[in-house]
Amino acid sequence: MKKLWKGNEAIAEAAVAAGCRYFFGYPITPQNEIPEYLSWRLPEVGGAFIQAESEVSAINMVYGAAGAGARAMTSSSSPGVSLKQEGISYIAGAELPCVIVNMMRSGPGLGGIQPAQGDYFQATKGGGHGDYHPIVYAPSSIQEFVDITYNAFDVADKYRCPVMIIGDGMLGQMMEPAEIPPMRDLKDLPNKDDWAAYGHSDGRQRLINSIRIEADDLEQFCNRLFEKYKVIAQNETRSEEYLTEDAEYIFVAYGSVARICKAAVVELRAHGIKAGLIRPITLYPYPSDVIAKRAKSAQVKKFITVEMSMGQMVEDVRLAVNGLKPVEFYGRCGGNVMMPADLVKYVKEGK
């Protein structure tokens, strides 16, 4: 049954339904409803919540809980996610499954608390030190928040990878009707006995570790990790195309900005301009093939990447288009949000 859910609380309940029983977090706007909700909800279902002393500590608690075999999560917003990066690198290095939510606010520095998408580089290119990527999802509605969160724990377990879900202050705070999927039976979750360190008495040590001091060992590990990323790219890359079949002007946008672009596409088409939208749902792996395919279409005149940043994803769009068509950028930042009319005007004037 659909209910009216606030974005942050919908993520929290979807995580519980997915079998997440441990959450560790630290207050920061605009994601506070996630820890607030889970602080009372998790004990109800036999789980636990710790308000950690810092973001650094919270992500290391995730390392501990995930290492012990549990479905664990943390959430934060941009400055707090910066603090988590060391821990995310360790989680990637130790091949632990977990989910990290970033309700992005504007930066750099303390920045502002209004919506932004300035953490794209940090989220998709690794963020912390060393060679790794989290799998990154960018939902654009509350129902999609729910579905992706519910699925994210499965994906994390399947590949033993950190999964990051990025939204923004707007998506986290707004309310929409959404349906939470059925509560998972913990007995049906993947068996992690082979590697999880929860105190075995079978004489074989389980070790949660990311140190590989021998160069060859570490290189071999990185090769294996990146082989895994290839499989993830094959199986998990997701995107949505909206009216791109005959489009001459294609917006590329994710998250809340994609919804604004959709409205602009409708408006442009009402004016007889054939616009369309490619909406990456996974930001890593990136749906480059979908963009590349459209770049080869004769009728496509240009791509317009729209972001609430100074232009970050636009680099991946350019890589995918690979010079076949012009790639332009339209951005607002600082917490400002573009209106569909701004995009309509931009396309009309640039025609």
Binding site: S57, Y63, N209
Partner: protein, 250 residues
């Protein structure tokens, strides 16, 4: 042939990488002996730090975590909530790990009164990285980042962890020991045993500080370093029990 002394079951056959004369090996053995005596070898979980004991997981054969620098108490706090309450959880940390980069994690795990045991090796120097000043380097003591000796006016003051943590409500048992001679090794063993007993009784956090040596970075022979610990270390960091709620209970 009769075996009169043997290696504890909890220790692996991997040769220790520690420098000759370092007391890490002694403390590892004490932990293993104590857990064996308490019948907890089969369900212990250890969290090792970044520092000289970064490879401690090679020596203990129980399930282990290698934590990021300073974060062992945070990792252990989360593990505590996931695993069976009867599992013994310990962290093993040096002074840079526990009292510098991990100070917040240490203090907050103690504030929460986590039912875990923290073994703190305090030799007043960064051993693994080559002898830099630690949060517990004593005034006047030389290190590669205070080559004329620690000057509190320039380098700040060292911290007495047991005394500080004893001001908190959370911890159940706090004791400082040393291993510079046989009598003190035996006392240290008693303290570690009590610490694990406190955890088994679900009384909360137990914290054992071991005033330790670092012959390599002190530029001393093992014996000289032991004398240094005895005369200087244990004077500046007095041994004893700083908190014991089991006594308060009686």
């Amino acid at each position: 042939m009769k075996i009169v002394a043997d290696k504890p079951k909890m220790l692996t056959d991997t040769p220790l990488h520690y420098c000759p004369g370092c007391t890490h090996g002694i403390v590892h053995r004490l932990i293993a002996e104590v857990l064996e005596e308490l019948g907890k070898v089969d369900n212990a979980i250890g969290v090792c730090p970044v520092g000289c004991s970064v490879f401690a997981y090679n020596y203990f054969n129980c399930d282990m975590y290698e934590a990021a620098h300073g974060r062992a108490p945070a990792v252990a706090s989360a593990v505590r909530r996931v695993v069976n309450p009867d599992n013994i959880i310990f962290t093993y940390q040096g002074d840079g790990d526990l009292a510098s980069i991990g100070m917040a994690e240490t203090v907050h795990a103690c504030m929460r009164g986590e039912n875990i045991t923290i073994i703190f090796i305090n030799n007043g120097i960064y051993g693994m990285t080559g002898g830099q000043m630690a949060p517990t380097t004593m005034p006047g003591e030389k290190a590669t980042t205070c080559i004329y000796g620690r000057d509190p006016k320039v380098n700040g003051n060292p911290v007495h962890m047991c005394e500080m943590l004893a001001t908190l409500t959370g911890p159940a048992y706090i004791e400082r020991v040393s291993c510079y001679d046989v009598a003190h090794v035996l006392k240290a063993k008693k303290a570690i045993k009590k610490a694990f007993q406190v955890q088994m009784d679900k009384k909360g956090l137990s914290f054992i500080e071991v005033v330790a040596n670092c012959p390599t970075n002190y530029h001393m022979t093992p014996l000289e370093s032991m004398n240094f610990v005895k005369e200087k270390g244990c004077t500046f960091y007095p041994l004893g029990v700083f908190k014991d709620i089991t006594k308060e209970d009686k």
